[in-house]
């Protein structure tokens, strides 16, 4: 029971941060929702081990990044309900982001460019520029060497620069 309570406390205190991380990884609310829930279910199964020996946040961050990159995350999902949730749940604010967000100018341009990147390159940028991890830490999260992280980041930034709509960013992102 104490473990369950600790897990619940962890989820409550970190939920928003995880949703935001998931949203940046996937670029859309529904996949972010799935990603967070799937990662937390894995953490729930490993909670006894993880919270005593490791950093639960690091575990979830790693799980989400790797799940996102894996092939099944990239297949298009369809939004349907084949079963009813056990109980009512509030529509999260995250679901409103896709519908309500309508930014203009540079913000939307950069966001759209990020969406065109391969999952691993996008993950590298999110971990580096949002989570502010070092290349070594990113390598640990993604299960690759720090050299691979640097090359992935370089390719991602290079792609951003090379996209026609990002002409004004040329020479800036590196």
């Amino acid at each position: 029971m104490a473990d369950e309570a600790a897990f619940a406390d962890f989820v409550r205190s970190r939920a928003t941060a995880l949703y935001r991380y998931g949203y940046l990884l996937t670029g859309n609310a529904h996949d972010a929702d799935d990603l967070v829930q799937e990662a937390l279910i894995k953490l729930r199964g490993a909670w006894n081990r993880v919270h005593r020996q490791d950093d639960p946040m690091g575990y979830v961050r790693t799980t989400m990044a790797r799940m996102h990159i894996s092939a099944w995350r990239r297949t298009r999902r369809e939004f349907l309900s084949s079963s009813v949730p056990d109980r009512a749940h509030r529509d999260s604010g995250i679901a409103r982001v896709d519908a309500g967000i309508a930014r203009g100018g540079t913000d939307q341009l950069i966001w759209n460019l990020l969406g065109a990147l391969p999952p691993r390159q996008r993950a590298v940028l999110v971990l580096r520029y949002y989570e502010h991890l070092t290349d070594e830490e990113i390598g640990h999260v993604l299960g690759v060497s720090s050299g691979t992280v640097r090359s992935q980041a370089s390719r991602a930034l290079s792609k951003l620069r090379s996209m026609p709509s990002a002409a004004h960013l040329n020479g800036g992102l590196r």
Binding site: R90, I101, G172
Partner: protein, 436 residues
């Protein structure tokens, strides 16, 4: 970092800043985890059974050969005491097969129609479509039922509630009730509707350390009038994710129970005796469950203090979910449900227990508390079927695929369902609170 890198960082933080978590995330994860664990246990049991079968089969095949060989004097070793092979998680040797309930028959419970009619036919005044935009030009989102002919909607910008309107289900017009203060970084914590007032809460706090956020509570009369800030609550707005209101007071969930505040102002107070209960959006009835959320163990009315204690079958119940007017349960043993047909419906006191109609258990289903009553919702592919076992009212919603293979159908916010016609590009909403 270079300026563009700073720009990239800023864009990431800006887009992330609009995101909020599911209010029920802990419960959702726990529920899915328990289901996954049960499936794995069943799979393990099946796998163990297969191993037994293979061993038995292998023994049977090998036996004639063994019999033809010269035999040595047998070495007698004491055999361990083995359980009766007919025992299983479903069949307990000590207590026999799982119990069953009598077949469903109309009487105390009102049977659903053999063919569930469309919700638009059963509840024409409870089904509606929304215009794409609110009068203020922002997109619309239905929140909950106000009464049988009005539904509360909000206009949203950047994912944040901007204004609240009453939408007339019969005439289709909007009437503004209130608006959210604060800039675009504000996040709303929740809202509740009583007979004559709308309450809502907002938090201007915008950080990943959400648990430290506080929130302001506002009230406005539904008939029109000035918005008034009642109080600032210096507590977590994350925990305040379920709301209920009367004309006299507003209630919201906390980590362990609920708190309340008079509409006229004053002090925030803890609702006595509600420790361990979970408030339900839009209902005075708070619920208490077993540690694994599988058994509803109590209902308590936050206004009157009335308590109802569900009576579960004495043995082998593994799931009992209750609304204020009925419970639906499932027999099982050792974490494994019985075969199909083991779902039952009963009064809270355990009386009038009988099998659920097969049509509502064949696929996934759940029960929702809508105000002072409950409703059963069965889901299959692109169809949702609703049934009130007390009144017998039933209706279905059907979604259709669009050319881009996208569609959606679900129950939102506890009392509003939606189904998307992907071809027409329209969404039909059903206000469950108006289905009586």
């Amino acid at each position: 970092m270079t300026t563009p890198e700073i720009e990239l960082t800023r864009v990431l933080e800006t887009y992330a800043g609009d995101v909020q978590a599911h209010a029920d995330l802990v419960e959702l994860v726990e529920s899915r985890f328990q289901r996954l664990r049960r499936r794995r246990m069943r799979a393990a049991a099946v796998a163990a059974g297969m191993v037994v079968l293979l061993v038995v089969a292998g023994t049977a095949v090998a036996w004639p050969r063994a019999a033809s060989r010269p035999t040595k004097p047998p070495v007698v070793t004491p055999s361990p005491t083995l359980p009766n092979p007919s025992c299983s998680p479903i069949y307990n040797c000590k207590t026999g097969p799982l119990p069953t309930a009598p077949a469903f028959r109309a009487g105390h419970w009102a049977a659903p129609p053999a063919k569930i009619p469309l919700a638009t036919t059963t509840w024409p005044t409870a089904t509606f479509q929304l215009p794409a935009h609110a009068p203020d030009g922002f997109k619309l989102k239905p929140l909950r039922t106000i009464d049988r002919t009005h539904v509360l909607v909000s206009s949203i910008s950047h994912g944040i509630d901007v204004s609240y309107y009453s939408f007339d289900l019969t005439r289709g017009g909007f009437r503004k009730i209130g608006e959210m203060p604060g800039g675009k970084r504000a996040t709303s914590a929740g809202s509740a509707v009583s007979d004559h007032y709308l309450y809502w809460a907002f938090s201007g706090y915008n950080s990943t350390d959400f648990a430290k956020a506080g929130f302001d509570i506002y009230v406005a009369p539904l008939a029109g009038g000035a918005t008034r800030k009642i109080i600032h609550v210096a507590e977590s707005s994350y925990d305040a994710n379920r709301w209920f209101a009367t004309d006299d007071a507003v209630y919201w969930s906390t980590r362990d129970g609920a708190e309340t505040l008079p509409r006229t102002g004053g002090r925030v107070s803890k609702v006595a005796g509600l420790e361990g209960y979970r408030l339900v959006n839009g209902s005075a009835w708070a619920m208490r469950s077993s540690a694994d959320f599988q058994i509803t163990t109590g209902l308590k009315n936050v206004v009157t203090g009335e308590t109802r204690t569900p009576v579960a079958p004495s043995d082998d119940v593994m799931d009992l979910r209750c609304a204020p007017t009925f419970c639906v349960g499932l027999w099982g043993r050792d974490g494994n449900p019985g075969i199909a047909g083991d779902y039952f419906i009963q009064d809270l006191d355990g009386s009038h227990r009988m099998a659920m109609p097969k049509a509502f258990t064949m696929w996934g289903f759940g029960i929702y508390t809508i105000g002072d009553r409950g409703i059963v919702v069965s889901g299959q592919d692109l169809k949702l079927e609703f049934w009130d076992p007390v009144t017998g009212a039933a209706g279905r919603m059907v979604a259709t695929w669009g050319p881009d293979h996208s569609t959606s159908i679900a129950v939102d916010n506890g009392d509003i369902a939606h189904a998307e016609d992907g071809k027409a590009g329209t969404i039909t909403y059903l206000a469950l609170g108006a289905t009586q």
